[in-house]
Subunit: 301 residues, 2 copies
């Protein structure tokens, strides 16, 4: 059974699961496990790992339209080096501070592979789910896509050697990996959104998941997909659009809202909000420039 089949099995078993975060009373709660082999390429600093692991959970809180309250993380490594551990904690704390949450610690575990499990909680009385998108709605994304794809290219270029001329690439890659969880945007968009989720598995897969939950389709214009310059700088021209739509791990918000609310939503959102297309009926499917957009993306290892 692959991870997606397993998730479907769990959704059926647990009625509270299946959105970006679970809801309990006025709280949302979400947890993520990341590990070195699949999530932290050689060259990723522990500061970046702390930022990114906790940021991934904060992004799920954002996707529910909630305020981020607090986060914890379990840090597992073969050995505890004080410099690495403090760097991790500072990364985790800084990403929490960025979104107004408290980083309140966690657990340590001796473990063969560097592994992080982070959990974030948030609060809201105005939840936004993946369901709720209606044909005719506009579909938008925050920020730009492709940061993580660009970062991975830079990490790969630098390899894991300490060569002097790789340092620039590693520094840029780490900076790209330190994304800003869209908590503030999620809060303001919650007032307008009919459906919302984060793009952690890539835009294509997010659209398929929104379509599944909302029983709708999407028509997307490729030239409206906002792509970071960092990706166009490092990737082959003919790979850019594919990477931006399927690589994922960008942790932007994908949101649907009434066309008539679009300008009002833009005016209160603290980041760029790009309209990339429209919600259509389920029968019309999910298309990019008129061609079917496959449910392809990064399945988190």
């Amino acid at each position: 059974m692959d991870e997606r089949a397993a998730l479907a099995l769990l959704s059926a078993e647990l009625e509270d699961a299946g959105d970006d975060a679970a809801v309990v009373d006025d709280l949302v709660i979400t947890t993520d496990m990341l590990h070195e082999r699949t999530d932290f390429p050689p060259g990723t600093t522990r500061y970046t790992a702390g930022w990114r692991a906790v940021g991934a959970s904060l992004s799920d809180v954002a996707a529910m339209g909630a305020e981020a309250t607090a986060a914890v993380a379990a840090y597992a490594a073969p050995a505890f080096d004080d410099g690495e551990l403090l760097a991790f904690v500072r990364g985790a704390r800084d990403v929490c501070e960025r979104v107004g949450a408290s980083y309140v610690g966690g657990d340590l575990d001796e473990h063969q592979e560097f592994t992080v499990a982070s959990t974030a909680i948030g609060r809201t009385d105005d939840l936004v789910f993946r369901s709720g998108a209606r044909p005719g709605d506009a579909v938008c994304v925050t920020g730009t896509l492709g940061r993580s794809a660009a970062a991975l290219e830079l990490f790969n270029r630098a390899g894991d050697g300490p060569a002097r001329d790789d340092e620039d690439d590693l520094e840029r890659a780490n900076a790209l990996f330190q994304f800003e969880p869209r908590v503030a945007a999620g809060r303001t968009l919650a007032g307008y959104a009919t459906a919302m989720m984060d793009s952690s598995d890539g835009l294509a897969r997010s659209l398929h998941q929104l379509a599944e939950a909302s029983d709708c389709g999407f028509t997307i214009d490729a030239d409206r997909v906002p792509i970071t310059d960092a990706l166009t700088d490092v990737a082959d021209d003919d790979a850019v659009l594919d990477l931006a739509t399927t690589f994922g791990e960008d942790f932007e918000l994908v949101v649907t809202l009434s066309e008539s609310d679009l300008e009002a939503a833009r005016s209160v959102t603290d980041v760029r909000l790009s309209r990339i297309g429209s919600v259509v009926t389920r029968e019309d499917g999910i298309t990019l420039d008129g061609e079917p957009l496959a449910d392809r993306g990064y399945t988190h290892g």
Copy 2:
């Protein structure tokens, strides 16, 4: 740096860390990572693993005197077998139901070693910390100690072979591993406790941690330490007391309270509450039958 040194480093860095759970407004939050090599002996079922991992976090909520609200868990394994995964989820859900909490899902991760990261949240307006014990207070433990030590002995006896006559041992071991988190007891004891924590690292280490946080000492009577029959049944007579006081992983509550409150606290607590000794001054140290009780215990791997 070993795990304890690393934890001390983090306590200094994070002012909200250092008790059984972190506190954010009226919420408590705690996270634990467990993995196969050190926490789930061969023969541990996935149902037991789900129960135990989530139970460990619920025990930390109990130790703060809080109501248990919800829990999530990240499940990591080399492959996702649907029977194993459902068994895990049912164990996690059952332990939550036992204490009135909701199990609301989590995350999946492909990982070489079976690993679980669980997080629980709770609520209270009447927190109990590790600090607050005063010389003259009685010190008590809930339930009995030695369940996990007994279970490990039974797991070891059975080995990892599927021999027919090992099944009884494995069944008993799994049952012992499914402890009841002391959430209800923690809630009622919160009305009386001057200090409280759980015994996950063993009674001896818990007393040292309480002494450190409360700036006190303890005098403990060995013959008042409540030991489960399961341990006396399987362990050598001369090892029983040492296992009961240092093995840990029993997830009972260690609580200090005014002597004059002892009977009232007993009358409202839903489990046996054994007075094992008294709080003394820091100068008097931590003693078991008059002999220094070493800060020895199980450091979670």
